[in-house]
Symmetry: C2
DNA sequence: GGGCAACCTATACCTTTGGATAGTTTTTAT
DNA sequence: ATAAAAACTATCCAAAGGTATAGGTTGCCC
């Protein structure tokens, strides 16, 4: 197995690389940024797997994933993240990643997942599928429109601006703000926005 | 060296434990929560060092640190975190921790830091002191009072409530809100609160 | 077709914020 | 000692937000 591991957390990168080498018998190259990873791969033979940290210099969300896929430096690209919501995991798979690795998984599970992916399969953690339902109670609590409005609040927009964006009347936005605040038990728009942010929504 | 490592990220915990064992020749016990760690230490001889993840079930900020210190299960307690602002690191040291380990440090550096702490010294990463200046521009940009007020905004409080809490007049709060919004280039209180949250302040 | 929930609009009223201007006191730095 | 920055208070006005009440449309399930 030839693996290229890119993560800006040196500690995790070093220890994980050592683990994959010793317990997995893999050859592991490492990088601290996306560009460094792509650069490092140039002089090398094709890697079996490229593991990218979702939060890393150069990634800027899933744009970095696309960049890595275009560079064709590995048989497949997997995203690893400790904090990204499951929606990101799904998007990653949709955009061509062959796996998503939450940092909460055990080292042995990860090794198994890596072997699975190197064998040509796509790995998606069951934990995220199960968590999906209750991960963001807000997703279930709020109606579609309310989530649209809440999104606006999270960007600090005024009711008028949200109305313009959604092509609605300002009064309607007020209505939605009120009802979403009630549902979330928030004191006001600011409170609601903070709660949404805390829950990783948007 | 006898080390007790508590982190809910199984992946980091496993790999780091293996690293400290193999490269550092340490005996390492591990736990996934604070309570588990304290429990696990009961049947054991005194540890040289207890490493606690700042974001971990049971920690609830630095309250968990105090709990661990009171339990006297190790010669010293160190906090490890990947995201906590440097203010937390400073508070941790003030509250009795003998070290703060950012997850961005390399595995070898960490091993050195661990040895340093086991030898009875207190470790504080230079990177945080250097980064302090630009890590949270807000910390320098805003005055003390403005940060107090911003804190209130982040909890969704009204000007009146903040005034009550800080024992000031409502007009004064308005003044601070306006000036902090200007400095942060935020459109309004909600926007300012979101920006603060995004930068990990509070 | 009736019932229901989400969604949209409207009117009216009051509260909260935002913004400007002005002045005092305290703290900090040179 | 003096200047500068931070902090607090005050008034005034306009804009935005929060609350209540009422009614209309659409789409869906039974």
């Amino acid at each position: 197995m030839r693996i290229l591991l890119a993560d800006d957390h040196d500690l995790l990168r070093d220890t994980l690389a050592a683990f994959l080498q010793e317990k997995g018998g893999a050859y592991v190259a490492t990088a601290g940024t996306l560009d460094e990873a792509l650069q490092c791969a140039k002089g090398e033979a094709l890697f079996d797997l490229l593991i990218l940290d979702y939060n890393m210099p150069g990634m800027s969300g899933l744009a970095g994933l696309q960049k890595a896929l275009d560079a064709k430096v590995a048989g497949g690209v997997a995203i690893v993240s400790g904090s990204a919501p499951s929606s990101v995991a799904q998007e990653a798979i949709k955009n061509g990643a062959i796996g998503f690795l939450p940092k909460t998984m055990s080292a042995n599970s990860l090794l198994n997942a890596v072997r699975f992916m190197v064998a040509g399969e796509t790995y998606f953690p069951v934990s995220l599928i199960a968590a999906e339902a209750e991960a963001h109670p807000l997703s279930l609590l709020l109606t579609g429109r309310e989530k649209d409005v809440l999104n606006g609040l999270c960007r600090g927009l005024s009711n008028k601006e949200v109305a313009l964006e959604l092509d609605l009347q300002e009064v309607t936005i007020k209505l939605h703000v009120r009802s979403l605040c009630k549902k979330m038990e928030a004191k006001n728009r600011t409170h609601a926005a903070m709660m949404a942010k805390e829950q990783g929504l948007f």
